[in-house]
Each structure stands twice: as C-alpha cells, then as structure tokens.
C-alpha cells in the first residue's frame, strides 16, 4: 500500500509503475473481450498465451473457432511424415484441452493427407454444434468422409477439397446449410441431387472439378450465388428464382456434331428462362458453345431485365457462339457492363464453317444502358473487329471500352481499325492495352 504522502509518491520512478498497470489492464479485461482478442490470433499464438501466467493458462480453451493450417505447425523437419505426426498430436492435444463449444473447425495442411485421425476428429465435432466445417486435403486420394459428418445438423457452411462424399442412406440433408463449397470432390449422381434437394436453405453453391456426376439438377429455392467449373452434360435449374450471381465454366469442348431436335426448347432459352433474377453472369470456357448447340433464336422470349453484368468467353470464329451472344445482348436491356474474352480455335475451322455474320444478325440490338466494355485476347481479325464495331455503334451512353489483344502482332493495324469505328456515344473512351 502506497502512502498518500505526495513527496514520497513523486520520488518513485514512473516507468515500472506504468508497466505493472498495463499487464493488469489486459488480464482483467472482460472475458468476452479476451475471447475476441484471442480469436484474432492464429491458433498457435492463441494456445501459446497459456504460458504467459497461471491466469492465462486456460483462457484460450473457450475459443469457438479452431483453424489448423500451415501456420499451426512449425517444425524444423522437412519430412512429411514427421510433420504429419506432429500435426495429429497438436490437433488431438487441442481438442482434448478445449472446453466449450466449437463453432468453426478448419483443417487445411499440405502434409495432412487422408489420415483416419480425421475421422476421429469429425466424430468429436458431430457430438457438438459445429456450424462451419472446412476440410482441405491437399494431396493424395480423395478422402472418404466418415458417416459422422452427416450427423452435424447445425452446419451452416461446409467446405470440402479433395473428398469423397458418400452419405449413408438415412442421411436427411443439412437442414440449415446456407453455404456449400465443393472442390475436387467425387460423388454419385443421386447423392448430388439429393444433397442439393435436402438443403432447403442453401444460398451459396460452389462446385469445382467434380467427378461422378454429369447432370446438374439444381433444385434450390433460396439460392442466390452459384459458381461452377467442371465437366458436365447438362445443367437444369429448377425453382431457382432468386439466383442472382452465376458463373459457369464447362471445361470440355462440346464438339461440332450435334443432333438437333425439332420442337424442343433451345438450351439457351431454357437456361435463361429458369433464371429470372439473374444480375451477374459469367459464361466461361465452352459453356457459350454448349448453350448455342441448338437453334439459337434471335432474342429470348422473356428479356433479362435484371442482368447488369455479363462476361462471355467466346470464340469469335464460331458463328453459333456469336449468334448466341447477340441473342443475349438483344434480350438484356439493362446491361451495364460487358466483358468478352476471346477463346482461340482449338483446331483450324473448316472452310464451310467460316461463315460470317450478316448485317441482319446485328440488327435490333440496342445497348442503351451499357457503360463499360472490356474485350481481351483478340487477334484483330475481321470477325472480332466487326463485333467491336457493332458494340460501339449501338451503345449510346458508353463511357469506356478497353481492348487488350492476345499478342503484339498486328497491334498497330488493330488500333488503326478501332480509330475508324463510329461511336454512338460522344463520351466513349477507347483504351488500348498492351498485351
């Protein structure tokens, strides 16, 4: 106890006094503030606070979020087996000492391949109320998820990388799942359809590089975001009336010989009619070609009133794809931003197929809201330049068009052509970017 004598008080050195008070302030912060501070540290640092003092020994054990990644293990050895064993010990240790609920669990380490220890940890989580589960198996075979994962009915976010999904037949879906991210996964066709169908609150779906199913039947009434890239045969949206952001990439060329069928709705029409709320659309790889396989109408029966951003990967030498692009543009009166990325021909196109678009193909397409255009990967051939010419002539409020060629060759000639084109918008800037 210090005396109240002001003289004696002044004599005491100030610095040690301040340090003592600072430590007290942090340790005596309310519990929820400490929890928040610890949650912002890496798991490794958070656990290390246990050595600060006896007060701090078990402060970290209430963490609700456990992230085990490449930063969690710092071992001098380069041997993956040694690192793996250390990792297993760390996770076991943490889970055993942990006290309280775990809301988020993430496991993503390059040396942790499909070990059966993961099964044990998932079993532990299934007994709790885990809301977010992220598992990334960096190398090796697909990891078969244990049946206990499918008992985690409080999941709202599930993210898997390099896993095999095979739920038991009694699986009833994740009733409150809103976000699903599956990359490099294998599952059967019926498992996929079932999973989507039985997660009625699903809002975000990401599917990349999947195996085992090829028919994408998406029945998800609450879905707003959909991102897919892979090999598939068809895509069917059912009851996806709130889907506003879509990105689709078909990684395999659909080829040129197709059977058409008289009287069936074209793929293009079917695709857009099932997405009435679409706002942002990215069509990647060969998906535009896929959509253009049947008879491409001049315009869609129902216009896309909400579409304001469109990105198309397009082969300007493929007439079907160009007609499909024009059909979409003609049917999107509120389009604000357009991006066209040229895809080069895979094989030289046979002469019979080198048909040019006619003037009438370009008609009645008014891009009245279009402000920004981005063109990339072009070579400056007439087909590409004609399309650019058409875009400039039909966009009265265009602000900026950027053009980035595929290579340096013919750049000057391209610029000369671009200079000639008439612009409907007096404010339009055309910016040529070096490749």
């Amino acid at each position: 106890m210090r005396t109240m004598d002001p003289m004696k008080h002044r004599e005491q050195p100030k610095v040690p006094c301040q340090m003592e008070t600072e430590v007290d302030i942090i340790s005596n912060l309310p519990g929820h503030i400490i929890d928040k501070v610890l949650s912002l540290l890496t798991l490794r640092d958070a656990v290390r606070t246990s050595i600060l003092s006896s007060k701090w020994r078990y402060k970290w054990v209430n963490l609700t979020s456990l992230v085990f990644d490449n930063q969690s293990v710092l071992v001098s050895s380069q041997d993956p087996t040694v690192i793996k064993n250390k990792m297993v010990k760390i996770v076991d240790h943490v889970l055993l000492l942990h006290n309280g609920v775990i809301h988020k669990f993430k496991l993503s380490h390059r040396d942790l391949q499909g070990v059966c220890d993961i099964d044990r940890w998932i079993l532990h989580l299934s007994r709790g109320v885990v809301k977010e589960f992220i598992l990334e198996i960096w190398k090796g075979q697909r990891y078969k998820l244990p049946s206990s994962l499918y008992l985690c009915d409080k999941l709202s976010h599930l993210e898997l990388f390099n896993c095999l999904v095979k739920p038991p037949s009694a699986f009833n879906g994740f009733k409150i799942l809103t976000s699903l991210d599956l990359q490099h996964i294998t599952m059967d066709q019926d498992v996929f359809e079932d999973l989507i169908y039985k997660c009625p609150l699903l809002e975000r779906l990401t599917l990349m590089n999947f195996e085992g199913f090829a028919h994408l039947k998406i029945h998800a009434p609450k879905l707003t975001f959909f991102d897919i890239g892979g090999v598939f045969e068809d895509v069917n949206f059912e009851n996806t009336f709130h889907l506003s952001t879509v990105s689709i990439g078909l990684y395999v060329n659909v080829g040129n010989d197709h059977e058409l069928c008289l009287g069936t709705t074209s793929k293009l029409v079917k695709f857009f009619s099932s997405l009435p709320s679409i706002q942002r659309l990215e069509v990647q790889s060969f998906f535009l070609k896929f959509l253009a396989v049947d008879m491409v109408p001049r315009r869609l029966p129902i216009p896309c009133m909400e579409l304001n951003y469109l990105s198309l990967r397009i082969n300007f030498n493929d007439m079907d794809e160009c007609l499909a692009a024009l059909c979409i543009l003609r049917s999107s009166p509120n389009l604000l931003e357009l991006e066209m990325l040229a895809r080069p021909d895979e094989q030289p196109v046979p002469r019979a197929a080198l048909k040019n678009l006619m003037e009438e193909d370009y008609q009645s397409c008014f891009l009245n809201q279009l402000r920004f255009i981005k063109i990339a990967g072009i070579f400056g051939v007439p087909r590409e330049l004609n399309f650019i010419n058409f875009l400039l002539a039909n966009s009265p409020i265009l602000e900026r068009m950027t053009v980035k060629p595929a290579s340096q060759d013919g750049g000057w000639d391209m610029v000369k052509e671009l200079l000639r084109f008439r612009r409907a918008s007096v404010h339009a800037e055309i910016i040529y970017l070096d490749p």
Binding site: N256, H258, E259, L260, L262, M295, M319
Partner: protein, 112 residues
Amino acid sequence: MSKSSKTIVLKSSDGQSFEIEEAVVQLMENIKPMIQQKVVKTTIITIPNVTGNILSKIIDYCRKHVSHKEDEDALIEFDTEFVNVDEATLISLADAARVLEIKCLSALCTLV
C-alpha cells in the same frame, strides 16, 4: 454456303434415319432455318412424334415436288395418289406436315 458439302439427316421418332438433300429441306419451313444457321458438315435432326413410315412418305412427297416443280399435271397425279390412303395414315401425314411446316402438303391434306 456451299451446297455439295452439307449432309442433312432426318431421324424419325422410332430411330430411322433418312439422308435428304438441301433442296428437299427448302419445302420444310421449320427445318430450313436450322440448316441455314448451323454450318456444320452433318446436321442430324430428330422429328419427334413422326414415325419412319410417315417420314419416308413425306420425304418422297417433297422430292417429287422439287424435281417436278414445273410439271403441274404430274404433280396433280402424284398428289391424288398420295392421299389415296386410309384415314389413320392421312391424319398422320397431316400432323407431320404441320410439324415440319410443309405448306402445300398441309393444304393438300385438309382438302381431302
């Protein structure tokens, strides 16, 4: 559009295939735009609800009308013979003509 290099195949609902010439397609208003739009070498078009039997007759009709365009008498004779069939077949022919949008054949079938 080079005429010689294109192959057009019509497939009936029961899987029979018939290779036809472009001139024949000109009479089928529903098929014409498909051929015009698709620049591939071989175009196969399935006609649902039309059997091979009926499709074959339709193709004969179109071929006759193309080759004997100028010869009115021959056409009238052919047409009379063409509709000289039982009612069921006539109805099928009329339906097929409607699906493929062959105006002259549709008119012919309704006159009977």
